[in-house]
């Protein structure tokens, strides 16, 4: 069989393509970005013309995916964990409408916050929506779940969530692929009002969803992704969810487990398997690379079952990702203590690239703000967030995509003047446009700086919806044309930038300043493709 060397994220993409997917809808976000990028470059996907262009944000992606499913075809929607907050309305309701063509929502969580604002666990959202969740332990399982997921979704007529974490998304391993399936043909839903969530119909559909729960559980009970490993020493039983199973295996090579183990890869919880291990063993250790979801369920609220060990009783740290050493300690096994890091080793935080346009903007902004005072600059998420660190210390917030503009508005309403927002071009079209509209409607005195580098820089330089249309969007929304100012952020234009910024800050209404210069990294790449491709076919 052909084997491919793929990242976990790429394995999901390959599994979805081979499983007969007609389109992927996504907004970039670490560690989920590579799924869509893989589809964009994959030969079969290109030949089949599978949809793979980026969406404006996760909500539009989720809705477009649902639309493709409505038309009978198989779709995947991908995002990072916080993206699901943005898509939540569509996501939760898609469980009520149900699907027509198979729909998989892949969400990549980032425990330990390697590149995120929080470490929320998407399984809670899956449980909240009352849909099945896949949680692969390996790249191969990731492939298989994507491949098989569409069929399960079509069988249950419900979207499926696939939850992965950073270490699986961004780790490579060999994958065995399976035969390429046909895409579905266009086919309307049998019930023309299936997707109409008027209360009368929504109530019916919700009862239907409730009715499906036992079927979902039976599927989990039967699933080959939920495996029970019997063993003699029942002083302890171990439930290992998703990738935590690998860390367990690392400590017991070749799956020679001394204690019974339940490997969990498909939810809702398979009741009889869970019941068996809990009844059989004196204590239960729960390993989850995320929040203690299963642990909370088994521990209960009132009796606080002390038999259940995990993150809640301190057996495992309450936050952060798992690793083989944390699991070893929880099992009472010996861990090696490596050498210490010598004290001379200094921190080396990420920094804006040499020549990045954001540098020039912050230099100009800092100079302008000398006159206006400190702590008046709200910002957002992207490379430019590094402006919060020395040497700039220019910004005072970074909360969620788009929040710079709306927080500046609220602060302006409270009397902060001038209130400044600094936002990237991709973040602006993701969630900043409606925020700006709020300010325009009230003509709030504030200055919005849209730092336009023509790309989604932070996540590796994906196309930005804003490119070529920023001024039109702002003017169209209602910013006065004479208060939409375009600048070129270069050291030689420093004085001019300061002058324009100052004028706009003194203006008692909404103004938008657009410093525009291409990201150094995408510029270098478009001149010369320097990326090394590792994806290679071997026997």
């Amino acid at each position: 069989m052909e084997k491919l060397l793929l990242l976990g994220a790429e394995a999901i993409a390959q599994g979805a393509i081979d499983g007969g997917m007609s389109g992927v809808y996504a907004y970039p976000g670490t560690p989920s970005t590579e799924i869509t990028e893989y589809v964009q470059h994959n030969k079969t996907a290109v030949e089949r013309k599978l949809h793979s262009q980026w969406s404006a944000n996760e909500k539009t992606a989720m809705e477009a995916g649902l639309g493709m499913s409505y038309a009978g075809k198989r779709a995947m929607v991908c995002m990072k964990h916080v993206g699901l907050n943005v898509a939540a309305d569509a996501f939760i309701n898609s469980a009520i409408t149900g699907v027509n063509g198979g729909l998989i929502v892949t969400v990549a969580d980032d425990p330990s916050m390697h590149s995120s604002q929080n470490e929320q666990d998407s399984r809670f959202f899956g449980k909240f929506a009352m849909i099945p969740i896949f949680e692969p332990a390996s790249q191969q399982e990731a492939y298989d779940m994507a491949y098989e997921g569409f069929e399960l979704s079509e069988k249950l007529k419900i979207p499926i969530m696939m939850r992965i974490t950073t270490r699986l998304a961004h780790s490579r391993a060999g994958i065995e692929t399976r035969p390429l399936k046909q895409e579905n043909k266009l086919k309307y839903p049998e019930d023309p009002i299936q997707f109409v969530l008027l209360p009368s119909n929504a109530r019916k559909r919700y009862k239907g969803l409730l009715g499906l729960q036992s079927l979902m559980e039976q599927e989990a009970e039967r699933s080959s992704f939920n495996t029970y490993y019997p063993a003699r020493n029942k002083s302890l039983g171990i439930i290992a969810c998703g990738i935590a199973f690998n860390y367990l295996m690392e400590n017991y090579p070749e799956r020679k487990f001394p204690h019974p183990v339940l490997q969990l890869g498909q939810y809702p919880l398979p009741f009889s398997k869970v019941e068996k291990i809990v009844n059989e063993c004196e204590h239960i250790l729960i390993l989850e690379d995320g929040y203690p979801l299963v642990e909370e369920m088994l521990k209960g609220y009132l009796d606080k079952n002390s038999k259940i060990k995990g993150r809640l009783d301190g057996t495992i740290p309450r936050d952060g990702e798992l690793n083989p050493d944390i699991v070893a300690k929880a099992l009472g096994l010996e861990v090696k203590i490596g050498k210490q890091v010598p004290s001379i080793v200094a921190n080396r935080p990420p920094e804006l690239c040499a020549g990045c346009s954001h540098r020039d903007i912050y230099n100009a902004l800092n100079e302008t703000m000398k006159e206006f005072g400190k702590q008046k600059v709200f910002s957002d998420i992207g490379c430019y967030t590094l402006g919060a660190l020395p040497p700039w210390n220019s910004i005072n917030s970074c909360v969620d995509m788009g929040a710079s503009i709306t927080m500046a508005k609220g602060a302006a309403d409270a009397g902060v003047h001038p209130a400044i927002a600094v936002i990237g071009d991709s973040t602006f079209t993701h969630s900043g446009m409606t925020a700006l509209l709020d300010a325009i409607v009230e003509n709030t005195p504030m200055t919005v700086i849209i730092s336009d580098n023509g790309t989604t820089g932070m996540t590796g330089g994906q196309a930005s919806h804003a490119t070529g249309r920023l001024e039109e969007i702002c003017i169209g929304l209602g910013v006065k044309p004479e208060h939409v100012k375009v600048l070129t952020p270069l050291p030689k234009y420093h004085d001019e930038m300061v002058k324009v910024l100052r004028e706009e800050m003194l203006y008692e209404g909404v103004s938008v300043v657009i410093p525009r210069r291409e990201c150094i990294q995408t510029l270098a790449r478009s001149k010369k493709d320097v990326r090394v491709k590792v994806e290679e076919v071997v026997k």
Binding site: K3, L5, T30, P31, T33, E34, H114, S115, R167, L168, H170, S171, R172, A173, G174, I243, N246, Y247, L248, M249, E250, P253, E254, N323, P324, D325, A328, V335, K336, I337, G338, K339, Q340, V341, P342, I344, V345, A346, N347, R348, P349, P350, E351, L352, C353, A354, C356, C383, L386, G457, M458, T459, G460, G461, Q521, V532, K533, V534, E536, V538
Partner: protein, 194 residues
């Protein structure tokens, strides 16, 4: 057979091409492989590392446990020390000595080299200099891989084959320059070891 390797450096220095070449070589030898890398922060200049595991048996964890790495391969001297907790007692540390200085509190070079040489098994190599000597100034990462190659449980020829596969698209000349760099690194190590 197993090799657990930590790759380290600064963003943009090309540790992923080292991983790619070793990965190809591992596949040629029908070995299992897992390679966890750091993505996400596009900006350059931060510390980056990758866990690369190859083995004839199925590999469980994508991450190497502490104190178990057989080799640290670093393209930057200070970064080589950041991952010492992972190095096993008898593990090798193979590092470039050319510093990448983008912070104000970068340690004194003499003190830094002294720390590296405290380790019982170390190869400190001026890979940038050697790359220049073999007229392949952009292949210092292959020099370092060459210097580490005696300690990786994979036939040397497979690493050359890996280079051929990875750089094939860039033409014969680039392939040869990278192979020259690999060879020069290996020779340095073999000489230093004896």
């Amino acid at each position: 057979m197993k090799s657990d390797i930590i790759l380290s450096g600064v963003g943009g220095q090309g540790i992923l091409s080292i991983a790619a070449v070793v990965g190809m070589a591992a596949l040629e030898n029908h070995l299992y492989l897992k390679q966890a890398e750091v993505h996400g922060m596009s900006q350059r200049g931060g510390a980056v590392q990758s866990h690369l595991r190859i083995s004839e048996k199925e590999i469980a964890s994508d991450l190497i446990p502490e104190g178990r790495a057989d080799i640290i391969i670093s393209v930057e001297p200070m970064e080589s020390l950041r991952y010492l907790p992972w190095l096993s007692e008898n593990g090798w540390l193979v590092t470039n000595t050319t510093p990448f200085v983008n912070i104000t509190d970068y340690p004194d070079m003499k003190v830094l080299i002294a720390e590296i040489e405290k380790l019982p098994h170390n190869i400190a190599i001026n890979a940038d200099e050697i790359a220049r000597q073999v007229k392949s100034p952009r292949s210092s990462n292959m020099v370092i891989l060459g210097a580490a190659s005696p300690f990786i449980d994979i036939p040397y020829q497979s690493l050359e084959n890996g280079i051929k596969k990875i750089f094939e698209r860039k033409g014969e000349k680039i392939v040869q320059l990278n192979i020259d760099a690999l060879k020069a690194g290996r020779e340095f190590s073999e000489a230093k070891r004896n």
